[in-house]
């Protein structure tokens, strides 16, 4: 297949680029090595819309963060993705850290961020009663927010597909050749896809993709961040996203509500060997517990429902790499998209689109383009009378499958069939929250396996947790 643009990587960067390109009269193909989109850093990060006070003025990060916040809020609304402008606070515990807050305030002003202010510890505790008594001052960032990063990615890919973009899953790029036809991209399976332009949005593997394309000029440094997600019963302990003072390692351990009402604590920042180092460790989780208690001493970490590790891909310059290759024309890199990459994703997509245009891609807007997407889970927000009417039209919505998160069969069927359809149990979980609650899929898991088997037309023993190799069953009893 020949496309105008081939995008490698269906993380949030590739997803937003695909969506943005779907406005134009172009054929676009999005390649993803996993069985679903948002499988790298886009599914395991803090889910924060950063205020923009942190990046070094003049960097791409600063520029795109400032522009990106409003763009992201708008995209979240269009795509019906859970997003809350809850504001954030950076906490100082000492005079030295208070000085750091002042520096951040100045930096925020340089970055054109409005609304920032420094509050005393007591003022902060008035609006955030569980904040530690040791906090002396905070930087209050009213425009910051929280968002569900994987739902954003899924929705952006779905919207792009609704507007004509092709998604190829399980396409692990093994070779890239530049020919007269364009970039011929070959998968491990032998499949090929050709594109006139190639955009490298491969997240933690962007350096490898760059090398395959003959432009391996950078090396990514993977750093693992471990998180713990606590029960909704703990959700009330923080209204704002509460940061400690940032260090060279990252923005520090945060305590934050999630858009779904849980409490998220983490991440650590531990250098790891590869992008695939996604184990949680006793040391890492101990650090998460210790440092989050410093911010909010009353957090009950025994209320953990799951813990996970995300791997961020940074580069030594500390800034994003967003540029056309200097040696391979038509190859665009979006690499080293670590924090605040999620906040910047729409702004990055704009920037990449401009880079493609500069490289010669012709951008003709389609006559009609619909940038909106319906929420799979809209049902659960309805009033009882609306639900009743809806169930009478769609009986599958009456049958609750996941009792902990109250997810109906109708929502699960929709998750399987709405672009980009869920193909495995984790995919259903990320789209509907089924299995994300207290029982972690203990009750609903077998039923979701049956639904996937039936709807995808595959035998039960081919149903996977997360793509080939992660089969749930080994076969019928025999």
């Amino acid at each position: 297949m020949k496309f105008d643009v081939v995008i490698v990587g269906a993380g949030v960067t590739g997803a937003m680029l695909a969506r943005n390109l779907s406005r134009y009269q172009l054929s676009v193909c999005l390649l993803e090595k996993e069985n679903d989109v948002a499988m790298g850093a886009s599914k395991a990060n803090s889910g924060i819309v950063h205020g923009g006070y942190d990046p070094e003025p003049g960097t791409m990060k600063a520029l795109l963060n400032t522009r990106g916040v409003a763009l992201l809020y708008r995209a979240a609304e269009e795509l019906n993705v859970p997003c809350i402008r809850n504001g954030s606070m950076v906490c100082a515990f000492s005079q030295a850290e208070e000085a750091h807050l002042e520096a951040l305030l100045r930096r925020g002003a340089e970055n054109n961020i409005s609304g920032l202010s420094i509050l005393s510890g007591d003022e902060a505790r008035k609006i955030e009663p569980h904040l530690s008594g040791e906090v002396t001052k905070v930087l209050h960032v009213p425009n910051a927010g929280i968002i569900s990063p994987y739902e954003l990615t899924i929705a952006a890919v779905g919207n792009a597909m609704d507007n004509g973009v092709s998604l190829c899953r399980n396409f692990a790029v093994s070779a890239i050749a530049k020919t007269e036809e364009g970039f011929v991209v070959t998968a491990e399976s032998g499949e090929t896809v050709t594109g006139s332009y190639l955009v490298n949005c491969a997240g933690g593997n962007a350096d490898k993709i760059a090398a395959l394309a003959g432009d391996g000029f950078f090396t990514l440094i993977p750093r693992a961040g471990e998180y713990m997600l606590l029960d909704k019963a703990e959700g009330y302990k923080a209204k704002h996203t509460l940061f400690q003072c940032p260090s060279e390692k990252g923005k520090g351990i945060l305590v934050s509500p999630t858009v779904h009402g849980n409490l998220l604590i983490g991440p650590t920042a531990i250098p790891v060997e590869t992008e695939n180092s996604r184990d949680t460790t006793p040391e890492g989780l101990a650090e998460v517990v210790e440092l989050s208690l410093r911010t909010v001493p009353s957090v009950d970490t025994r209320q953990v429902i799951t813990s996970f590790t995300g791997v961020r891909a940074s580069e030594k310059s500390g800034d994003f790499i967003l540029q056309e290759s200097k040696t391979v024309p038509g190859l665009i890199h979006a690499a080293a998209i670590d924090s605040p990459g999620l906040t910047c994703c729409v702004a990055i997509a704009e920037c990449l689109t401009a880079l493609l245009a500069q490289a010669g891609l012709s951008l003709q807007e389609k006559e009609s383009w619909d940038g909106t997407r319906e929420d799979i889970c809209a049902f659960r927000e309805m009033k009882d009378s609306e639900k009743d009417a809806y169930i009478k039209e769609n009986p599958a919505y009456g049958k609750i499958v996941c009792r902990c998160e109250t997810v109906s069969e109708g929502e699960i069927l929709r998750a399987i069939h709405q672009n980009p359809g869920a193909r495995d149990i984790d995919g259903v979980k990320r789209r509907t929250r089924s299995g994300m609650g207290r029982c972690q899929g203990g009750f609903c898991g077998p039923y979701i396996m049956q639904l996937l088997s039936r709807e995808l037309g595959i035998p039960m023993e081919q149903v996977t947790k997360s793509g080939e190799g992660s089969q749930m069953l080994i076969g019928e009893l025999n």
Partner: protein
């Protein structure tokens, strides 16, 4: 909004027994709301035998035990809504439920909560490592094997020596899988002794006490686990780590009463049992709302679930509105983890006390005291946390009592 005298939430062993008992006590307008396609609850996947010896005088399998009660429910014409999930119960006893026909709103005179319990998951244990397929709670694996007919793995390690884990060790072995080990973090087993014998010893499966799984390995499907011995504080002992290759890890690490609806209704919960605080009739602090079975306290024997539920059903039928007066409170003393009921409202009828001990003991004596005064004692040859104890207090013991009634344990020589 429709009206019913009694709504039973859940059609497992507790819900069925409560509904039947309420009917027989004279309240014929009883309905059961059940989320599964048929009543029977978790018994339907417990295909092993050992149920009913105490209550029915015969040894049955789980589905047979359920069938006995399902027949009684049917015989009385008690209406059962299946595939109907209750999403809300209010203090005013208004119930919201949904099924494929729509939203149901029912106003009840009494509500009996019988939702059962759920298994503690991997997340709650915070075991480190990767997140591959092949890590199941034991009950989930039981459902896949016994109801759907699939093999979940070929080589398994089981964490936790709760009864479901032990039963699944035997079940997987019988179906051709190799169970490498059962690891128990405590220095004693959480399951019934008979299950250690017939599920592990019969199949040569080792039980490692004071041992836990410290790491999960494998990217896509489980490849192995690292186990380690633990010290008195349940922390891994350095140097005792051992890798066991396996494709399946079953977790049988505790059951938690499923009380989300209870909390939503504003009913106070006992932090030790994780179930509602109840009186001798299983009535919660909200008048007309009762709780019984594993949603109240996790039982080891279904026979006691049925008995408890019958008490709740009878009381719901002859609804007493008294939930305020407290005649006597109960307390757990030395060696006792909890006592149910937490309050006794009437001295007239006597009371049955249910409790669990804090650790395994040899020969013991339970002593029930009212202040300084000993009301009752009961000897046991042994006592273990995995085996619920029942003490019966006769009306004459309570007549002059002032409370609190304390149950403690004395170790006997």
């Amino acid at each position: 909004m429709t009206n019913h005298d009694i709504v039973v939430v859940g059609g497992g062993p507790a819900g069925m027994a409560a509904a039947v008992a309420a009917y027989d006590a004279g309240c014929t307008d009883v309905v059961i709301l059940e989320r599964e396609p048929s009543i029977g609850g978790i018994l339907m996947q417990c295909i092993h035998n050992g149920f009913g010896l105490h209550k029915l005088g015969q040894e049955l399998t789980g589905p047979e035990y359920a069938a006995v009660y399902a027949k009684e429910v049917a015989k009385r014409g008690i209406k059962v809504y299946t595939e109907t999930t209750v999403t809300k119960v209010t203090e005013e006893k208004e119930i919201t439920a949904q099924n494929r026909e729509g939203i149901l709103k029912i106003k009840a005179k009494a509500v009996i909560l019988a939702m059962g319990c759920r298994e503690r998951s991997r997340g709650a244990l915070n075991i480190c490592g990767s997140r591959p397929a092949g890590v199941y709670s034991a009950g989930t694996a039981q459902k896949l094997v016994n109801c759907f007919g699939y093999q979940v793995g070929k080589k398994a390690v089981i964490l936790g020596s709760g009864d479901i884990g032990l039963i699944m060790a035997r079940r997987m072995s019988l179906e051709g899988a190799k169970v490498e080990a059962v690891c128990e973090v405590m220095p004693y087993s959480g399951g019934l002794t008979r299950n250690i014998v017939q599920c592990l010893e019969d199949f040569g499966i080792p039980l490692y006490l004071s041992t836990t799984v410290v790491r999960i390995h494998g990217e896509k499907r489980l490849e192995g686990v690292t186990i380690a011995q633990v010290d008195e504080k349940r922390q891994p002992v350095e140097g005792t780590q051992r890798y066991i290759p396996c494709d399946t890890l079953l977790l049988s690490v505790g059951l938690i009463p499923e009380n989300e609806l209870t909390r939503l209704a504003g009913i106070p919960i006992d932090p030790i049992t994780n179930g509602a605080i109840v009186d001798e009739n299983c009535q919660t602090a909200v008048p007309g709302i009762f709780a019984c079975g594993n949603v109240l306290q996790v039982h080891d024997l279904v026979d006691y679930v049925s008995e408890e539920a019958e008490r709740a059903g009878r009381a719901a039928a002859c609804l007493t509105t008294d939930t305020q007066s407290i005649a006597l409170e109960t307390k757990a003393g030395y060696g006792v983890r909890y006592v149910i009921p937490q309050v006794i409202r009437s001295r007239e009828a006597g009371a049955e006390l249910f409790l669990r001990v804090t650790a395994p003991f040899g020969k013991v004596r339970f002593v029930v005291t009212d202040g300084e005064k000993v009301l009752h004692t009961a000897k046991r040859l042994k006592a273990a946390p995995g085996e619920m104890e029942k003490l019966t207090l006769k009306p004459e013991m309570l007549k002059a009592a002032t409370g609190p009634i304390t149950v403690s344990l004395e170790v006997m020589a």
